[in-house]
């Protein structure tokens, strides 16, 4: 079944929040998922597998321990933490490449790299264990699938991509991934009570006149 990109984004945001990330990270994860789907990549599956890893049990162990490169963590590196740091620290790329080690679901870095390329107004290459991805912030050259983990990821300035992936206007999540996302999203919903039915939505004067 096809979903609108807005539906994909809204579900991804609730799912990421439901999995225990902050609201700000959830906003970024949802935009990232939407962006991957727009590029025809498996955004829903990528996010679903990340959330199932349960990194939020101890997120501090999965984020870069300092801004200086290389970026690594006590445990494997969360792409939402590393991605947002990359987007926040774009200026570092002006002088040196950024190297990351032991990254889980590295495809989720790509939307952040795309942001960075737009901010720098130049193309960036992401090398994921030898697989090359290039983006100028608008166009993306990448294979259809990327590994679930990468030993080494290097982001550096490069020449513009020579082609680009076809843009998609809909998302086609695998049903099982969609279910995983909705399962996490469900954790953000308050159970209904009779009181909330009456008060929460603000029943008042008659609505049938």
């Amino acid at each position: 079944m096809s979903f609108s990109l807005n539906e994909m984004e809204a579900t991804a945001k609730r799912a990421t929040r439901g999995a225990g990330y902050s609201w700000g990270q959830a906003e970024e994860a949802s935009k990232a998922t939407r962006w991957l789907c727009m590029q025809g990549l498996d955004g829903a599956g990528t996010l679903a597998r990340l959330l199932e890893r349960g990194l939020t049990l101890n997120l501090a162990a999965h984020r870069p321990s300092q801004i200086e490169c290389p970026w690594n963590a006590e445990d494997d590196l969360c792409p939402l933490s590393a991605g947002s740091l990359l987007s926040d620290s774009v200026h570092l790329l002006k002088t040196n490449p950024i190297e990351m080690q032991n990254v889980t679901m590295p495809a989720l870095l790509l939307p952040f790299v795309s942001n960075a390329a737009r901010l720098l107004q130049e193309a960036l290459t992401v090398e994921i264990d030898g697989v090359q991805v290039v983006t100028d912030g608008d166009r993306l050259m990448a294979p259809d699938t990327l590994p679930d983990t990468a030993q080494r990821v290097v982001v550096s300035r490069s020449a513009s991509p020579e082609g680009s992936r076809m843009r998609h206007t809909r998302a086609y999540p695998a049903p099982e991934d969609w279910d995983v996302l909705n399962h996490f999203a469900h954790r953000t919903y308050a159970p209904a009570t009779e009181e909330s039915r009456l008060l929460g939505a603000g029943a008042g004067l008659s609505d049938n006149d």
């Binding site: 990109l5 609201w23 990270q25 919903y189 308050a190 939505a201 603000g202």
Partner: protein, 562 residues
Amino acid sequence: MDLKAQTQIERRDPATVMRLSRLGSLHQCRLSFMRQLTRRMAHENWAFSRPKFDIDAKGVGCAVYTAHGPERAYSLVAFAHDLPPEKRSDRVIADAWDATFALFDGIPSEADIERLSKNVPLQEAGRVSESELSLSRANRSVRLWSHVVDALAAGQQPDLEQIYQVGYLMRTTAVYGSGKFGAADREKVADRPEVYAPFQVEMLSVFLTRTFVRDLVQHMADAKGGSRAVKLDPDIARWLGIGNSTGLGMAPFIVNHPILFNNWIMAREKAIARVRSLESASESEVDQFRELFQRSQLSISWWRSQHPIQVEKLAALTADLDTLSDYLDTHALTDAFPWNRLMTWSETALSTEGQEFLASLILEPYGELVDGLATCMADSQAQAFVIDGTMSIGQARELIRDTHGWALDLDWEARENCARAWYVSEEKLEPRMGERFEEPIAEYEQPLAPARDAIAAYTLMGEWDESQTVAEFLLLCPEHRHTLRRVQMSRNAPYGEIRDNTIGSAVLPIDMLRAKLSFFGATHFDPRSDRWVRICMYSGAPYPEELTSENADFWVYPQVPV
């Protein structure tokens, strides 16, 4: 060479404009989305057709209404149902309606209509596709529907007083756009000039819905009265708008879209400042202002509400109209900077409701000065989402002081200051607001208290060195990312934040609803509780076949009957 600078009246301070009590007193104006649409359709000479009206004597069936613009067509596909009265509810928890609609991008085939007939009547429980731009439903006004059907069927015109007081035959209870339930994302149409401005798809859908409702009531009267039935007088039909019943679901929108909301308020504030900066007003401009003031008084005299807050505001507004009338009787508006004088006078002479009514009204004679601002009302700054990590903590704290300074001294731990929490219900996946200390909802809280969150980040950043960067702070404190993003947006969006407590015990969500609905161009706000409101849309507007450049703009102000 004359180097004397033209006096430039500044825009009003966001600290004044963005208080909830003022946002909850906003009135429609030239920039309202309905008026943008009718002006454009008239200017571009849109054509309208009704390729299908297949409805039986019980009022069940399907109709299609197509609007043909210069480059593209849009079609309202309407399904009429026979709804048992006990199922009729405006609440979002309803699962059946008198009529359901989709706005189709183009002209639907029979196969499209067949597909939609299996989904649109189900609303949230169905699926639409990328060919559909909006999904909506409407219920009859029980009071007025049977009166109009019975009168026409008996060969009589309906009673105008009843029409004035209700204002509509049907009210929509949700108009979903932008990718909801499988519909096309806004991106599909965002670069089309006719729907670039906000909510033009939804406004077009409602414009066509109003025509369908007029045709349906006639059809039902004809079926009931047979040869005795008469045609609804077009002069009466024109006063029939479309009602809308809006609940809490809409309130978070203006918090969740700070740049978009800023752009709406900014456009109106720029327009007000431009008109206030005019050194003089011509006779024809003053005449037009006075005429529309007269006409608006009639509209306000039809505005009814039973809600104590709105009853009080209406009493104040009615008194304001007398005060303003006295002012206009004694001032010819021939002094220097007449509009600025009037506005300055209103700040102490009128209630907030009256001040905002006036602020919208002074824009009316100045289409050339004002209407171009409509192009600034969409949000095209996707890149504003990206946080600038190089900003210093000192700078970020200064931005928070600028926008949320009012909130710095508030005791955010005190129960009355955080009595409420916004959450999403499991039942309908819709936003609700509850009592933090009485219901188990705190852990499900949505980020709809930007001021509280900003003060929390401000306080924590106070423990950091001012020269450290936002990137360093957010690496260790990712729970503040959403706040720092908003704070940075405020640099280019001074009207993006509500400058009031959105979770205090005194918060009135209807203020947030009204702020948004006023930009749609809604009138006759009628709160039904502190968190849902009924309004009227398109009352007085020409129907598609009547639309001309002469009547496309000021229809919102009724002509005083001769």
